[in-house]
């Protein structure tokens, strides 16, 4: 059989001291996957320290790891069977190094969960089992190791199997196989063991050759997150990696979350052998598009009808690796595909004890190694998918300070939240609040003027806005100057075309309104500079200051009016 070069990635996890590194070392040794130097070096170290030859040292390269006999950090190593090439990932089993176990396991497609036959199912066996389910790894073999310590007993094997099956089924993890082995003596590693004739299944080596690589993500809806936009020459190249689906020259595309539509003009290349008309999932590529408008990193290119979810709130399962607790309403950085946004946890739904699967009662913080279900709120709406439907756009990490401190998967999108804090406009890494869609009424019953919030959506570059309401009428082209946020928004043809900081804003002789929809009395660049200066010089000790500033600079009724209204329906 021809050897497949797909490099199936298998992570080996389990409780500390259950023999993960030994099983891997043995697999590498038995398959002749190691260079002489590596084996010689371990032999030399064994001699120097007077210890027996340890297969684990083949992976535990750090001095500290060898001296303490534990794996500290994850490592990856290629290895070959007759059938194909693998990348095997060794993950530490000590609770303290869970972050390293996750760093290794997050890259894997399949897993071997190693359990010591004598000790049975331990805390990290369970926690690692839970992590596999969170990371979406479904191809799991449970390896019952150190069978030599229980005299290769079939009864013990079945006992451990039953215990683990019981726990994993609660997580929806159904291991494909349970294999009894002795890593130290090489039983059921590469050869069928004659010490355990009662076991009819394959040894590890033959069993992993039966794993099928995951079917292509090329058939899923297109997800092409923008990584960067290059303008090295006369081409304006939108660069990134196709995370799902395929993309061809001539395709109609839509850019989320803004919703701008355009057509793929070309797929760019440098080397002649990379010239192509179609690119698909997994490829790093770059395209040019027909309509040149502002694009930025983080946006996701897709096709109309198969857009990701867009919201500033979603429900997620997360695991916490931070030394500092995760607390409600603290600001963190969320990274999802190439999007980066400030976020906070709005609600902790439950904290799950990963070893008992019990939900804890008191939930106001999430501590190191906890798993929890939470609701996140992001500063701006972002595009995402539910993890089960699309892995890459359905998972994210949380950065606390300088380090990644948590990871998670999206379980559900939540309704967009619009409170006083929610901006009306976002884009170009800016946000702006605005009440230009508020309606003003003169209530014919109470004889009072009432304002009803008209803010029911958020808009970004490319979005059409509502220019006509019951009490407002804006032109097709105008600029909004939001003083509170110091952001200018350009509306052209009824659509948002740009968000700019005041420092970069230039007057283009279009009508101006402020964030509440009142016309601004400015007709020139000089006027605009004057109003900015006036605003900066406002003395808030004067109680009349807002009224004075407003009367000087704003029209109430240029684009707004009062409508009669009878408030009796409620």
């Amino acid at each position: 059989m021809a050897q497949e070069k797909d490099g199936l990635k298998i992570v080996v996890v389990g409780h500390v001291d259950h023999g993960k590194s030994t099983v891997i070392g043995r697999l590498l040794y038995d398959t002749n996957s190691l260079p002489e130097g590596a084996v010689d070096k371990v032999k030399r170290i064994a001699k120097e320290t007077g210890k027996p030859f340890e297969y684990a040292y083949l992976l535990d390269a750090f001095e500290e790891e060898q001296k303490q006999g534990i794996t500290i950090d994850t490592t990856q190593i290629q290895f070959f069977t007759k059938q194909r090439e693998y990348v095997i990932i060794d993950a530490p089993g000590h609770k303290e190094f869970l972050k390293n176990m996750i760093s290794g396991a997050a890259n894997a497609e399949a897993a071997l969960l190693v359990i010591d036959a004598k000790q049975g199912v331990q805390e990290q066996s369970k926690r690692h089992g839970y992590m596999l389910s969170l990371l979406g790894i479904k191809k799991v073999y449970v390896v019952i190791n150190k069978m030599d310590l229980v005299e290769y007993s079939e009864t013990v094997f079945h006992f451990v199997v039953a215990e683990m099956k019981d726990f994993l089924s609660g997580l929806g993890v159904y291991p494909l196989k349970y294999i009894p082995v002795s890593g130290f003596f090489g039983e059921n590693i590469s050869q069928q063991s004659d010490k355990m004739p009662w076991f009819k299944g394959e040894p590890i080596l033959a069993a992993i050759d039966l794993l099928e690589p995951t079917a292509g993500i090329g058939n899923k809806p297109l997800r092409f997150p923008i990584q960067d936009v290059y303008k090295f020459d006369d081409r304006r190249i939108i660069a990134g990696r196709i995370e799902a689906g395929t993309l061809s020259v001539g395709d109609e595309i839509i850019i989320c979350p803004g919703g701008k539509k355009t057509t793929v003009q070309s797929i760019e290349y440098w080397s002649e052998r990379d010239k192509r008309q179609t690119v698909s999932a997994g490829q790093s590529t770059g395209i040019t598009v027909k309509d040149e408008f502002f694009n930025k990193r983080g946006e996701i290119i897709t096709r109309a009808g198969s857009e990701p979810l867009i919201s500033n709130r979603f429900r997620a399962s997360i695991f916490w690796m931070g030394k500092t607790d995760l607390v409600l309403h603290k600001k963190y950085k969320l990274k999802l595909a190439t999007q980066e946004v400030e976020c906070e946890v709005e609600q902790i739904v439950r904290v799950i004890d990963a070893t008992q699967l019990h939900a804890a009662e008191v939930v106001d913080k999430i501590v190191l190694n906890d798993v929890a279900e939470v609701i996140f709120k992001t500063k701006e709406p972002i595009a995402f998918d539910i993890f089960q439907q699309n892995h890459v756009t359905g998972r994210f990490v949380i950065v606390d300070g300088y380090d990644v401190a948590g990871g998670g998967i999206v379980i559900a999108g939540e309704k967009i939240s619009l409170d006083e804090q929610t901006p009306t406009f976002f884009g170009n890494e800016l946000t702006a609040h605005g009440d230009i869609f508020d309606e003003f009424y003169y209530d014919v019953d109470s004889l009072e003027v009432t304002k009803i919030a008209g803010h029911s959506n958020v808009y970004t570059i490319g979005d059409a806005i509502k220019t006509h309401g019951e009490s407002f009428d804006y032109p097709e082209h105008f600029d909004i100057l939001v003083f509170r946020d110091q952001v200018a928004i350009k509306i052209r043809g009824g659509k948002v075309t740009a968000l700019l900081p005041f420092s970069e804003y230039e007057y283009e002789a279009y009508p101006l309104v402020n964030g509440r929809g009142f016309g601004i009395k400015a007709n020139s660049t000089v006027d605009v500079q004057d109003i900015f200066k006036d605003y900066a010089a406002i003395d808030y000790n004067d109680p009349q200051v807002n009224a004075k500033f407003s009367n000087k600079w704003f029209f109430f009724n240029k684009y707004r009016k009062l409508t009669f209204y009878f408030d009796y329906v409620i």
């Binding site: 001095e63 997994g282 998972r395 990871g407």
Partner: protein
């Protein structure tokens, strides 16, 4: 996508992340096969442009053919090349006779530190691979070095789902490792597939060739008849000798590389 396509796509993704997210960025170019593949990948990632300088830490003990090759290629490709030598150490007579690890530390580690300091690099792209040796097998793709250039290898932050470390205090820098997942054979198969121009020291002459390039006095040749790419690949698929067996500094101590790299060695 085949195996090499996957490796290429991932490396390009990493290079683009480094370019977008790190401030002042440079790429270490040792003239060897790995960093030459990196150069090729950068050309692909940035469509024929190389939007950062290349750095060669010249120990003045390199094989002379490497230096000639370096200068010729840099001129041909119009590379923005920074060549730096720890001149003070050279003037003080540093060489492998003063102890191999001391020599590596002075001429390579400290030489590199001087470059980082003089140019204020926040990101250094380095062509190390996991399969080269143990301490590299434990590396992250984006690996932080502190102000004193040290690597806190026993306490690395999590790295998952291609979300790399792009937040760090000013003064620290990030080593970016786009080739971490490649093996030695992958490198050669890619060179063959893409026709990547490569220095001829790797091809056998008179029954000997270099498998790994470094300083003249500390880099041994191997017995080999492999004078073509096909023969090199065939040789590597059957060999049981490790790639760096000819690199004398590695043999100085069981944990030589870990010790050197902890202090900022590449």
């Amino acid at each position: 996508m085949d195996h090499l396509d996957k490796l290429e796509a991932e490396s390009i993704y990493i290079l683009r992340e480094a370019y977008k997210k790190l401030g002042k960025l440079g790429m270490l170019w040792s003239i060897g096969k790995d960093s030459t593949v990196l150069l090729w990948l950068a050309k692909k990632a940035f469509y024929g442009h190389c939007p950062f300088p290349f750095i060669h830490v010249d120990t003045k003990h390199k094989i002379p053919a490497m230096i000639a090759y370096r200068d010729r290629v840099a001129k041909e490709l119009n590379l923005d090349l920074i060549v730096h030598t720890n001149q003070a150490a050279i003037d003080a007579g540093m060489g492998p006779d003063k102890g191999r690890l001391a020599c590596c530390k002075a001429l390579k580690t400290e030489g590199l530190q001087q470059v980082v300091q003089v140019y204020g690099f926040e990101g250094l792209i380095v062509g190390v691979r996991r399969d080269e040796e143990g301490s590299r097998s434990k590396e992250r793709v984006f690996s932080e070095r502190s102000k004193d250039y040290s690597w806190d290898y026993a306490n690395q932050p999590p790295e998952l789902w291609d979300q790399f470390k792009t937040d760090f205090p000013k003064g620290n820098h990030i080593r970016v490792h786009p080739l971490l997942a490649w093996s030695e054979v992958d490198i050669w198969e890619y060179i063959r597939r893409e026709n990547v121009p490569i220095i001829d020291l790797y091809f056998a002459k008179n029954g000997k060739r270099y498998r790994s390039l470094g300083c003249e006095m500390c880099t041994g040749q191997i017995e080999s008849e492999a004078d073509t790419l096909d023969k090199i690949i065939e040789e590597l698929k059957t060999t049981k000798t490790s790639e760096r067996a000819g690199r004398k500094q590695d043999q100085e101590d069981s944990y030589a590389m870990q010790k050197l790299r902890k202090d900022g060695y590449m």
